[in-house]
Symmetry: C2
Subunit: 308 residues, 2 copies
């Protein structure tokens, strides 16, 4: 089988990816990660989605949360609090090492792709992890009078605001990171991970060259629904889709991706939507999509790689 | 009593300073700190001597070591080690918050003085702490063929090298930080803390305007010997003085400072050197100079402020 490209957000994506790397040669996998959630805190460059993927594939992720380092402490953050800084973004002490080093690399003139490649090498990761772009793209969440940075919406305010629109500042002019377009072009299969379509996958689709290449590539593009039984498996995807006027269902996700998707994998509980989704001119497979543990991830990854 | 200025290295100085601030109004104290030991690690700007003073005066210092934050952990550093970085410089997790914020301030265009003032404000410190200069001055330790950065000599190689010379790169052209000269000029008393004369006080003396002002000021300049009974209370001062051809004694320290010192405080065990030191045209007081605890610091501080 030829190379596989996975478009990945954070936690949900990471869980599928850990399954993928156990069933295909990891060096045949190129992961394109969302950087619209990136944030600068205390002068440090933080890439939460890239980190969730790195930590998961390095086997050091906090399994319960799906992000952060297992068993991490928060002593540096406690001192930040004492100094009078806001500490709503939970940076662990081990986690901080990654942000400090990434920031140092960027300060030394590396691109985010180069810094990410070096961090992956240091963590012993075999798949290639590419940020979607080396240019700054920032996901902004609009809610009534508020214009929130993604992490303000997501972490600081706990997704409590009703989202009226989402913007990806800088995406229109952003160039895909080196290797992204080439990987999608040459891939045998492209996997759209079960991430939040509107907040985690859409930032990548907002980069014109990425969207164009997804439409053009001869790769077989397979998506997995993050909406099961009308609810998000994790996070606010259901509420955001609703408030933006999208149908909150596997069908709604398929519709969002209809321009380029060849095959959509939905959960058993959504089998009744199969026919309707097929009318969007894509194939549909029905399976258990909930990844409770590594076996669940491997089982779903096998389906993702087998469907045709 | 008018303003007091203290020239301070790290641990020994900090112990005297905590005594000084309990017997004089802290806002009447200006501390000038050594920055020749500053080091950049992982892209972070670290000022070990300023930190030892800040942590001690903030009451958060690790009392046993005299530096670092009490009860600190080293989880970030463990991740640095895992990533393949050298970790001989022991940066604690709480400690890191200070370095991260200092680095952010410098990156935002603040001078080291401004960053230090802001950190002191955040930690609730009342005395003014000024770095000796905002310009880069780096203490280099020469040993045979080796040209070592101070922290390489001091921490990494554990002061095991015989020191043949010490250089203060950049000192000749460095300008004292804003306020330093003015404070020394207007001080009623200048205190040379019991720090390593050759490695911690000499970097300040190597800045021409500082040395000139010490010679010119009408302030009464009082020093405390860091050498007691021919040995350094802490650190390698005795060995460094010996290898550089200086007499390893209270007398040797007095001689090193003879250009500007008005009064030297030596330990009871060195009373026999009193007459000899007096011949250097300075007064000499003899007392117990060992600061085992806060009471010891206060006792010595009272002597420092009383002698005339």
């Amino acid at each position: 089988m030829g190379p596989t490209v996975a478009l990945a957000g954070g936690v949900g994506a990471a869980r599928l990816l850990r399954g993928l790397v156990t069933i295909i040669p990891p060096e045949d996998l190129v992961i394109v990660g969302n950087t619209g959630d990136d944030i600068e805190l205390y002068g440090l460059h933080i890439s939460p989605d890239l980190d969730a993927v790195m930590y998961t594939l390095a086997g050091i992720v906090d399994e319960a949360k799906g992000w952060g380092v297992s068993g991490d402490t928060f002593h540096c953050l406690e001192m930040m609090d004492r100094l009078g800084f806001e500490t709503w973004f939970k940076l662990g002490d081990q986690d901080l090492a990654i942000h400090i080093i990434r920031t140092k690399f960027l300060k030394n003139g590396m691109t985010l792709s180069q810094a990410t490649a070096e961090l992956c090498r240091m963590l012993g990761l075999k798949p290639k992890l590419l940020p979607m772009t080396d240019d700054p793209v920032r996901t902004k969440v609009l809610s009534d009078q508020l214009n929130l940075d993604f992490q303000e919406y997501f972490v600081r305010r706990g997704t409590r605001d009703e989202v009226t629109n989402v913007l990806f500042e800088g995406a229109e002019k952003a160039k895909p990171a080196p290797g992204v377009i080439d990987a999608i072009e040459k891939a045998e299969r492209v996997v759209i991970c079960p991430s939040n379509p509107v907040l985690s996958i859409a930032p990548m689709l907002a980069i014109p060259m990425v969207m164009d290449e997804l439409r053009d590539t001869r790769a077989y593009i397979v998506g997995v629904s993050p909406i099961v039984g009308g609810k998000a498996i994790k996070g606010p995807a259901d509420r955001v889709m609703a408030s933006m006027g999208l149908e909150v269902s596997a069908y709604g996700v398929a519709k969002f991706y209809e321009d380029f998707l060849d095959h959509f994998i939905i959960d058993n509980v959504d089998e009744h939507q199969k026919r309707r989704i097929e009318k969007l001119e894509m194939k549909v497979s029905v399976t258990d999509t909930i990844m409770r543990n590594l076996e669940g991830s491997v089982r779903l990854a096998r389906v993702v790689m087998a469907v045709k």
